[in-house]
Symmetry: C2
Subunit: 166 residues, 2 copies
DNA sequence: CACATATTTGTTATATTATAACACTGTTGA
DNA sequence: TCAACAGTGTTATAATATAACAAATATGTG
């Protein structure tokens, strides 16, 4: 059963152990891929790790530059194929309003995409509020619309940045 | 006071009088621009009209081609500047997941963007469900996140297309 | 009206994001 | 060993968007 109550996203927890975030994400990715019998190759794993470098989303060309900095001769298709794999396996998400990619904080669970995007620090927090899903379900149900995917992108300023500003 | 109850969006009303949609949108645009003391020039008005040609969103380059078909020598900046104006005046919205633009069905009211996007017919219905806004406000409030804009893009199949499929 | 000013549009060039097509390499399992 | 397939490399190009500057048009003022 999925978490049914909004929890504080790690991204919005000042001074959290981010090394742990990355580690957990990679371990979970390995586990999920093994269970699904798909291959998390070195390239795919490295791209996932680069995306997890922070809680701010990363563009495809930024990833390409990072790979090149490591001596890999990465061209766009190399990056986009790795991204496509990670998206298909739902290990990352694409933030449409930013054309950028971010690690999923609860892969394995199929879920709607809901983000809080801080315009100041760039941090994106994935949230999971069932009340939002339910409100959407009421509307779509009333209109006979059958949803199959959705993204909610809320742009604003996170608490840390607001605190810092005053 | 804004409409406080979900209503059936014109976009999802089969056989509605779309000519009336376009007419109303243009009249309302004229009125709003006059009130704001900004200029809805011929170009801007024509771009708005082209966007309102249907309830499916239109890409910037498609608009450019339409303008060229009318003898205007439109280059990308011409189109993007008109789009920027219409976006600023909130007469149109940009659908981030489609890189495309659609006429706003209730300009004048400041509102969050909430769309139902039919993958089959391409129709985008703008909805206005206060319960969604409230659910989002609860989460953002709890996290100390100050939202200033948001977009909800629900992709799926509309009732008409589902009916047609069976 | 003549003129200064500001806004809008035109034009050229380029940036950014993403995909198509085909070749090569490595893995897997007869 | 070999066939089949999955993954990656390589080249080229498509699709979306912006920068910079010039020309035209509208607006206000004397
Ligand atoms: Zn972290
Ligand atoms: Zn996720
Ligand atoms: Zn209509
Ligand atoms: Zn609207």
């Amino acid at each position: 059963m999925a978490q049914r109550r909004p929890t504080l996203p790690p991204a919005l927890t000042r001074g959290h152990d981010h090394h742990q975030c990355v580690h957990d994400a990679l371990v979970e990715a390995e586990r999920l891929c093994a269970g699904r019998d798909v291959r998390l190759t070195e390239l795919r794993k490295r791209v996932l790790e680069l995306i997890w470098a922070s809680h701010a989303p990363v563009g495809a060309y930024a990833i390409m530059d990072l790979l090149r900095g490591e001596g890999r001769n990465a061209m766009p298709p190399t990056v986009y194929r790795a991204l496509d794999f990670l998206l298909e396996q739902r290990l990352i998400h694409r933030i449409a309003s930013l054309n950028a990619y971010i690690g999923c904080t609860h892969p394995g669970d199929r879920h709607a995409m809901q983000y809080l995007i801080c315009k100041t620090c760039g941090t994106v927090a994935e949230i999971d509020n069932p009340a939002i899903d339910e409100a959407i379900a009421v509307t779509t149900g009333g209109l006979g619309f059958a949803p199959d995917s959705q993204t909610l992108e809320v742009s604003g300023i996170c608490r840390d940045c607001r605190d810092a500003a005053r």
